[in-house]
């Protein structure tokens, strides 16, 4: 038990691990920028040139990746794998444009998942990306909101039941949860996963929570406001989301107890189930139409888990509370108004100062990076895809530079602090 606790602390305090996560995110921005540039749709370039160029880029990337693996260049391998993943996404979009295929997020995600799965044999951390996208692809196909809405209404109008329409979708949710849960448990309890008892489930269940946010957003935006569909929505929440989480929480708790391992996952899953129950309760209060409260639920669960984690951090309660408030505010009241950005940046500045005083390098880095991300978010403009693509590529490069500077000059800053 002491060994597991020490390895857990090592992982939580592993700054390089978190920096790698951010490097992935920066690669994601660069990759997304490439996708946006392709989406801009350069009509006057012949289709054969576009296709040939895209396939050539895939082949070059694959060859570079193989070379990086053989040369044992670990970081380059991770970055190339990440760029390759986004290149595949870009080429799928390009093929859709050239052949004028209907844009279908779920089908696109499914195609991408089927083509890109070898990549996480090379870069296991790409599971962060692959799991939610595969989930959207598999289950999103069953939950296409406009199709579902029409089918439910048609069924009710023709004297059928909404439940008959919803049942196959609910079954698909269960199947997806079982498949992903089984994979996660297999990964978690393999011998070599012993020192990743928290990291792997954290990744997996964060991906699950992201998928849940997506599902809930979809429903809150598209459901027809009739009594029959409202009732179905509540049934869906109760059975499709809450119950599977409770079942898996119990299963993982039992397995942990059997293997004598520690994991916060049962608590995390139970917390998610509780959050959905609260959301359901909100529906029948006066706040039920206020998305701020339901939308803030998921981030609150995340932050609650982080707060539990922070038992291991030697941080003052004030600092922890500041970050809790900052995070909930960041997600719940996101607006692209400069009068929201400035207070947030001031909050980041205060957080960075408090972290510096508390000699907490990790939270100092988080404050700086949160400020950079917020600034980048403020200047995002999706209306013009060409400029947005350039903006994303620039943002990814800026983020990579910030990480590099924090690593390089952060040492001097903290050496200076420790001397005082």
């Amino acid at each position: 038990m002491a060994d597991i606790s020490d390895s857990l602390k090592k992982k939580v305090y592993d700054e390089n691990y978190w920096m790698m996560v951010l490097i992935y995110f920066a690669s994601f921005l660069i990759g997304l920028g490439i996708v946006a540039e392709i989406a801009f749709n350069w009509e006057l370039i012949p289709d054969s040139v576009k296709l040939g160029g895209a396939l050539a880029a895939l082949i070059i990337n694959a060859m570079a990746l193989i070379w990086a693996m053989k040369a044992d260049k670990k970081i380059l391998t991770q970055i190339l794998a990440c760029v390759y993943a986004f290149l595949i996404m870009g080429v799928i979009g390009l093929v859709g444009q050239i052949f004028q295929l209907k844009s279908d997020l779920a089908r696109g995600c499914l195609t991408w998942s089927a083509l890109s799965w070898p990549l996480f044999l090379v870069a296991p951390r790409l599971l962060w990306l692959w799991l939610p996208i595969a989930f959207i692809g598999v289950d999103g196909s069953a939950w296409q909101s406009h199709v579902l809405q029409d089918e439910v209404v048609r069924s009710v109008v023709n004297g059928g039941s909404a439940e008959a329409v919803m049942l196959p979708r609910i079954v698909s949710v269960y199947c997806c949860l079982c498949l992903l849960g089984a994979y996660e448990l297999w990964v978690n309890f393999k011998k070599e996963a012993q020192d990743n008892i928290v990291a792997k489930p954290l990744r997996f269940w964060s991906a699950m929570a992201l998928y849940t946010v997506y599902l809930r957003m979809m429903f809150s935006l598209t459901l027809v406001e009739t009594e029959a569909v409202k009732a179905v929505h509540d049934i869906l929440l109760a059975f499709a989301w809450i119950l599977p989480y409770l079942i898996f929480a119990g299963l993982v708790w039992a397995l942990n107890k059997h293997y004598n391992r520690k994991s916060f996952m049962p608590l995390f899953l139970g917390g998610l189930a509780l959050e959905f129950l609260i959301t359901l309760a909100f529906k029948y209060c006066t706040f039920h139409s206020h998305h701020l409260f339901s939308g803030a639920g998921i981030p609150v669960v995340f932050v609650a888990v982080l707060a539990l984690y922070s038992r291991h951090y030697k941080m003052s309660k004030l600092l922890r509370f500041c970050y809790f408030l900052l995070f909930v505010w960041f997600v719940s009241v996101w607006q692209n108004d400069i009068f929201d950005v400035i207070p947030f940046l001031i909050g980041c500045g205060v957080g960075a100062y408090l972290a510096y005083r508390a000699r907490n390098k990790r939270w100092f880095n988080i404050a700086v990076l949160a400020a950079v991300l917020r600034i980048l978010g403020h200047y995002a403009d999706v209306d013009n895809l060409q400029f947005f693509g350039i903006y994303l590529i620039g943002s990814g490069v800026l983020l990579l530079l910030t990480i590099l500077l924090l690593k390089k000059y952060g040492k001097l800053l903290w050496e200076n602090r420790n001397e005082k």
Binding site: V35, A36, I38, A39, F40, N41, W42, E43, L44, L51, A54, L55, L58, I59, A62, L65, I66, M69, Y84, I88, V91, I92, G93, V95, G96, Q97, F99, Q100, L101, K102, S103, L105, G108, T111, A114, L115, S116, P118, L119, L121, V122, V382, D383, N384, L385, Q386
Partner: protein, 133 residues
């Protein structure tokens, strides 16, 4: 064995995309039919700019199909046609004026594939070249 299999697996996306493109190409070799459309210009980050076009069977010449009968059930109700953002206004005006048609590669039993967009009887590429002048 892992060292030999993994590089091959990394070329799976390339192979998959090539097969996909070949399959889509084979779907574009059938007879061309022109179908009148109406529609609008929504936005989709993941797909780029496109026109959401609804088939207008009333304004379509059904003599181009077998037995002079429009095979409505073989087609979807609406299609996407990808365009550049800067051309969307000009094209929307033409769509509203009813002078736009979608050209499909069509064979009964196969999924119809869009191969071109006609604006005032001219190909879309010619239309945007003229607009650019």
């Amino acid at each position: 064995m892992k060292n030999k299999v993994l590089p091959v697996l990394l070329f799976l996306p390339v192979l998959g995309m090539m097969l996909c493109v070949l399959w889509l190409k084979t779907m574009t070799v059938f007879e061309r039919v022109e179908i009148a459309v109406s529609g609008y210009d929504p936005r989709d980050f993941f797909s780029g700019n496109y026109m959401n076009l609804q088939l207008n069977w009333e304004a379509t010449d059904c003599s181009q199909f077998a037995n002079d009968k429009c095979p409505i059930t073989d087609f979807d109700a609406f299609y996407h046609f990808y365009i550049q953002q800067k051309n969307s206004n000009a094209l929307t005006q033409k769509v509203n004026a009813g002078s736009v048609k979608l050209v499909f590669s069509y064979e009964h039993g196969y999924k119809p594939m869009i191969v071109d967009l006609l604006v005032d009887g001219k190909s879309y590429i010619d239309f945007i070249k003229e607009t650019a002048r």
